[in-house]
C-alpha cells in the first residue's frame, strides 16, 4: 500500500517534527490553550486507542464521533484508527434523531459524545434498541476534554499500551453518511487504501510542506476533511481548525485567514462567495494564501472572478468528486477569469490514482464529444454502502473487459482539450452549500408531518447559479400549517441546508398519466 495506514500521516510527522504545532483551534479565546504538538497529539491518540481497546473496541469495529470540531476530535479520530476501527463522524448541528439513526445503522461499538448532545442523543438511540456504552466528554478544546474523559474511563489505572493495529489496505478507515434518496442517509465505506491513495495524489499536485498552514473549514463528516487533516499532518504542516459557528461568519473567517497566515484554503464555493460578498477581504492581509481549492458544487464564474479580483495571487483549483471516490477529477483555473466569461469552468481530468470514462445508460462507452455518465475506477473508489448490498450493486457497472466502474450519476461531456464539462445530475440530487441533498429525503421528512397529505420538492435555479428548494404541499382538510411551523418542523428533522426556501400549497398536486407526481409541471409553475 502507498505509504502505510492512515495514522502513519501523524506518526511519521511526530517522529520527524515532534515539537512542531500539528493542530490549532482558530476561535479559541486563549491561544496558549488551543494548540497541540505532533508529539502530544500522537500520544493523546495512543491513550484514546488504549482506552477504546479496553472498552472492547476491536479491529473492524465502528466508533462514532459526536462532538464539535476540536483538537479532541482529531486525537479521537487517530485513536480510533490506531485501534484498527473505523470512525463514523456525525454532524453536531444535525438533529439528534438523524445522528442516532446513523450510529445505530452501522452498529457502532461505542461513541465519543460531547455532554451537550448526550441527553437528546441517548433518548433517540434508546428508541432504536439497546445502546452501546458511550464515552462522554464534558467539553472540547485543546484536547483537555478528551484527556479528562479518558482519565474518568481509566479510573485508577491507565489502560495498557499496546502497539497500534496494522490494518490491511482494504480495511475500513471511516464511514461517511450522505443523503439517501429513499429518505434515510447511507454510509459510504472508505478504506485505508481509498484514503491514502487520495492523500498521495494531493501531495503530488499541491506540494504541501511543513511551512504550510492549512485550513480545516469542512466538518469532519464531510469528505473535504480528509484532504484537510491527513494532507496537512502528513507533511508536518499546521492544521488550523475552524469551528462550525465561525465557519459561517464571513467577517470572522476573513480575519482568521489573515491572522493565522493560512497558506492553503479548501471549502465549498458558497463559503468563498460569502467571503467575497460579505467578508471585507480587502481589509485584510491575505498574502500568505498560496492555494485556494474548492469542491462540492459549481462555482458561478462571476463570483470566482470577483474573488480573484480581491485575491489575485493564489493558484485556484476546481476539484470534483462524490463522497464515494473523494476527489476524482481536477482543474486548475488558468490565470485570471476573463471579464466576458460566463460558462462554468470544467471539472477537468482524472486524478493520477484513478481512471475515468464516460458511459451510456446501457453501459456502452461514449465517443469523445458526446454526453454520458462519468464513471470512475481505481484505488480511491469506495468499498460500498454500509449494509445496502442492492444499492451498492446498482452503483457500479462492469465493462466488457471486466473492470468495475463506480457510476457517479453526473452527466459530463469530454471537451476537445480532454477536460470534462459538467452537464447535470442523472437523478434528483442537488448541491446546497456544497452538501449533497436528495430531494426525496426532504419529501420523506415532510411526509412525517401529520397535516401533510402530499409533498413534492423541486430545485429551481436562483440568480447566483445556486439552487432554491421549493416544496409543494397538499394538506389534510382545513389543517394548513403556518410557514413558521413548517420551517420549525423541518429544522427539527433536517440539517439546515436541506430546509426548503419556499413553500406552496394546493388542494392536490398535479399528476402524470401514470399517477406519479408531475415534477415537470411543478417546475413550470410561475
Amino acid at each position: 500500500m502507498a505509504a502505510g495506514p492512515l495514522f502513519s500521516t501523524l506518526d511519521d510527522s511526530a517522529a520527524r517534527h515532534p515539537d512542531k504545532i500539528a493542530v490549532e483551534e482558530a476561535a479559541s479565546a486563549d491561544p496558549a490553550l488551543a494548540a497541540i504538538t505532533f508529539r502530544d497529539l500522537a500520544s493523546l491518540s495512543e491513550r484514546a486507542r488504549d482506552s477504546l481497546r479496553r472498552l472492547g473496541v476491536r479491529p473492524g469495529d465502528r466508533v462514532g464521533l459526536y462532538m464539535r470540531k476540536s483538537i479532541d476530535g482529531v486525537a479521537a479520530i487517530f485513536g480510533i484508527l490506531k485501534a484498527g476501527a473505523a470512525y463514523v463522524p456525525v454532524d453536531p448541528g444535525a438533529p439528534p434523531a438523524r445522528n442516532a439513526f446513523i450510529l445505530n445503522d452501522c452498529s457502532v461499538r461505542t461513541a465519543l459524545v460531547e455532554r451537550r448532545f448526550e441527553e437528546r442523543f441517548r433518548n433517540e438511540l434508546e428508541a432504536l434498541g439497546p445502546i452501546p456504552s458511550l464515552i462522554i466528554l464534558d467539553d472540547v478544546g485543546g484536547g483537555r476534554g478528551l484527556r479528562a474523559a479518558l482519565d474518568r474511563e481509566d479510573g485508577r489505572d491507565r489502560a495498557p499500551a499496546e502497539p497500534s493495529s496494522g490494518p490491511s489496505p482494504d480495511d475500513l478507515a471511516y464511514i461517511l453518511y450522505t443523503s439517501g434518496s429513499t429518505g434515510k442517509p447511507k454510509g459510504v465505506m472508505l478504506s485505508h487504501r481509498n484514503a491514502m491513495s487520495f492523500v498521495d495524489w494531493c501531495s503530488e499536485v499541491f506540494a504541501v510542506t511543513a511551512a504550510d498552514r492549512c485550513s480545516s473549514h469542512a466538518p469532519f463528516h464531510f469528505d473535504l476533511s480528509v484532504l484537510d487533516i491527513y494532507l496537512s499532518l502528513k507533511h508536518g504542516a499546521t492544521l488550523v481548525l475552524i469551528g462550525e459557528e465561525v465557519g459561517k461568519e464571513p467577517m470572522r473567517l476573513a480575519q482568521i485567514i489573515a491572522e493565522r497566515h493560512l497558506s492553503v484554503w479548501y471549502s465549498a464555493p458558497s463559503i468563498l462567495s460569502f467571503l467575497t460578498q460579505y467578508g471585507n477581504l480587502d481589509r485584510h492581509d491575505l498574502s500568505a494564501l498560496r492555494l485556494v481549492l474548492f469542491a462540492g458544487e459549481v462555482f458561478p464564474v462571476k463570483l470566482l472572478r470577483a474573488l480573484q479580483q480581491v485575491l489575485p495571487a493564489p493558484r485556484y483549483f476546481n476539484l470534483y468528486g462524490p463522497t464515494e471516490t473523494n476527489v476524482c477529477t481536477y482543474y486548475e483555473i488558468p490565470g485570471r477569469v476573463p471579464d466576458d466569461r460566463t460558462d462554468p469552468y470544467p471539472i477537468g481530468t482524472a486524478c493520477s490514482h484513478l481512471r475515468t470514462k464516460v458511459f451510456e445508460p446501457d453501459g456502452a462507452a461514449v465517443p469523445v464529444g458526446q454526453e454520458g455518465e462519468l464513471c470512475v475506477t481505481g484505488a480511491g473508489v469506495m468499498q460500498g454502502y454500509w449494509n445496502l448490498p442492492e444499492q451498492t450493486a446498482r452503483a457500479f457497472l462492469r465493462d466488457p473487459d471486466g473492470t468495475r466502474w463506480y457510476r457517479t450519476g453526473d452527466i459530463v461531456v469530454e471537451a476537445p482539450d480532454g477536460n470534462y464539462i459538467f452537464m447535470g445530475r442523472r437523478d434528483r440530487m442537488v448541491k446546497r452549500r456544497g452538501y449533497r441533498v436528495e430531494l426525496g429525503e426532504i419529501e420523506s421528512s415532510l411526509y412525517r408531518h401529520p397535516a401533510i397529505r402530499e409533498a413534492a420538492v423541486i430545485a429551481l435555479p436562483d440568480a447566483e447559479g445556486g439552487v432554491r428548494i421549493k416544496a409543494f404541499l397538499s394538506c389534510r382538510e382545513g389543517k394548513r400549517p403556518s410557514l413558521i411551523e413548517l420551517k420549525g418542523f423541518c429544522a427539527a428533522n433536517l440539517p439546515a441546508y436541506m430546509i426548503p426556501d419556499l413553500f406552496a400549497f394546493d388542494d392536490a398536486l398535479p399528476k402524470t398519466s401514470t399517477d406519479k407526481i408531475d415534477y415537470q409541471r411543478l417546475k413550470e409553475l410561475p
Partner: protein, 81 residues
C-alpha cells in the same frame, strides 16, 4: 409591539416568509434556531438593521445569541443607539 419591533417584523415577513399570516410571527418566535433565518438570511437582516437604524453590527454579534427573536433583535438595536 414597539415601532422598532414592527419595522423588523415587517422586513422579516416580506423577505423570508412571503405569504405567511403575520400573527404567526410573535416577539418570541425562534428565528435562527427555528429554521426561518439561515446564515445568508441572517447576513441580509444585519445589512437591513445597519441601513435602517444607522448602527454597526460587529462580526461576532451576527448570530443566534443576539438575533434569535424579534424581542432580542429590538433589544440589540436599542443597545446600539
Amino acid at each position: 409591539m414597539t415601532p422598532i419591533t414592527n419595522t423588523i417584523k415587517d422586513f422579516i415577513l416580506k423577505e423570508f416568509l412571503p405569504g405567511e399570516n403575520p400573527d404567526e410571527l410573535t416577539e418570541t418566535t425562534p428565528l435562527i434556531s427555528g429554521g426561518i433565518l439561515d446564515s445568508l438570511a441572517t447576513l441580509k437582516l444585519v445589512a437591513f438593521l445597519e441601513e435602517q437604524f444607522k448602527i454597526t453590527v460587529e462580526a461576532h454579534e451576527a448570530d443566534v445569541e443576539h438575533l434569535n427573536t424579534l424581542s432580542d433583535i429590538a433589544k440589540f438595536v436599542q443597545s446600539k443607539r
